[in-house]
């Protein structure tokens, strides 16, 4: 069994703000990340897929197909966007990296078969770094 991992990046802005909390509570909880004007990151995302080798091509994953799928599902809707304003899921939900990871993983998982209709390869995990020092990872079995 092989695991093929591809790294992508996108840049986006966000503001961490939980609508259930008061302005003051949000300031205390999120600090600088609660700045009303927002701020941005260069997100780096790794998508891992798992599968056996296709004996014909010598590959476990067609990376061109994966690239096109990730571009459509994630990069186009997220790159150079304001997550709070441009992505429906974050209207009323704080776009923390945890919530961003859940949203991206769900999009990839839900639509995976449109790119890879066979039994293999399968989505194995998604990993996002908000900065090089903050890394978040989810395996496919955790995706609801």
């Amino acid at each position: 069994m092989f695991r093929v991992t591809r790294r992508y990046s996108f840049a986006a802005s966000h503001r961490l703000h939980a609508p259930q909390l008061s302005e003051e509570q949000n300031r205390q909880l999120y600090g600088k990340c609660n700045n009303p004007y927002g701020h941005g990151h260069n997100y780096v995302m790794e998508v891992s897929a798992q599968g056996p080798l296709d004996p014909g091509t010598g590959r476990a994953v067609d990376v061109e197909v994966l690239d096109e799928f990730v571009r459509r599902q994630v990069l186009t809707p997220f790159d150079h966007r304001n997550l709070n304003l441009d992505v429906n899921s974050f209207q009323g939900l704080s776009p923390t990296s945890e919530n961003l990871l859940v949203e991206i993983s769900r999009r990839l998982n839900r639509n995976w078969s449109s790119a890879f209709p066979g039994e293999w390869p399968r989505l194995e995990k998604v990993r996002i770094s908000e900065t090089p020092r903050n890394i978040f990872e989810m395996e496919s079995h955790e995706i609801g």
Partner: protein
């Protein structure tokens, strides 16, 4: 515990199946099917699993692992055209997956001991694309 050693080599390759036409290969492998070849700075991470020896405090002396990696991987692969100079790539397409499996096969006889075994081979073709291979069966002593 896991221990990992990293080595690098640079090599050129062509991704193509000899029985297919140039057009078919270009459709499957894209730019990687360029008949003149192209190259990468490959990075290989080899991970062993084991317990530290109670006397030496080491799973496997990393100096020894470094020598094995240089002898079995870097020397045959570095600054070579894989399709023409490195078996089995005269008959096996040198995709990142097949390179990871070949490195696993080359290392397995040398890094399986009573106290440690080969756990994973990771091959980076570029910093943005890598493959992990875990073998089809655990290595036996």
């Amino acid at each position: 515990m896991l221990i990992t050693r990293r080595v690098e080599f640079s090599a050129s390759h062509i991704c193509r199946q000899p029985q297919l036409s140039a057009e078919e290969n270009a459709r499957i492998y894209g730019q990687a099917a360029n008949p003149h070849g192209h190259g990468h700075n490959y990075v290989v991470e080899v991970t062993l699993e084991g317990l530290p020896d109670p006397v030496t405090g080491m799973v496997l002396d990393l100096k020894e692992l470094k020598e094995i990696l240089n002898r079995e991987v870097v020397t045959p692969y570095d600054h070579r055209f894989l399709n023409y100079e490195v078996a089995p790539f005269d008959r096996v397409v040198p995709t990142t997956e097949n390179i990871a499996r070949d490195i696993w096969d080359r290392l397995k006889p040398h890094v399986c001991g009573p106290s440690h075994q080969l756990r994973a081979v990771r091959v980076y073709e570029t910093p943005d694309l890598y493959v992990d291979y875990f073998g089809e069966q655990p290595c036996s002593v």
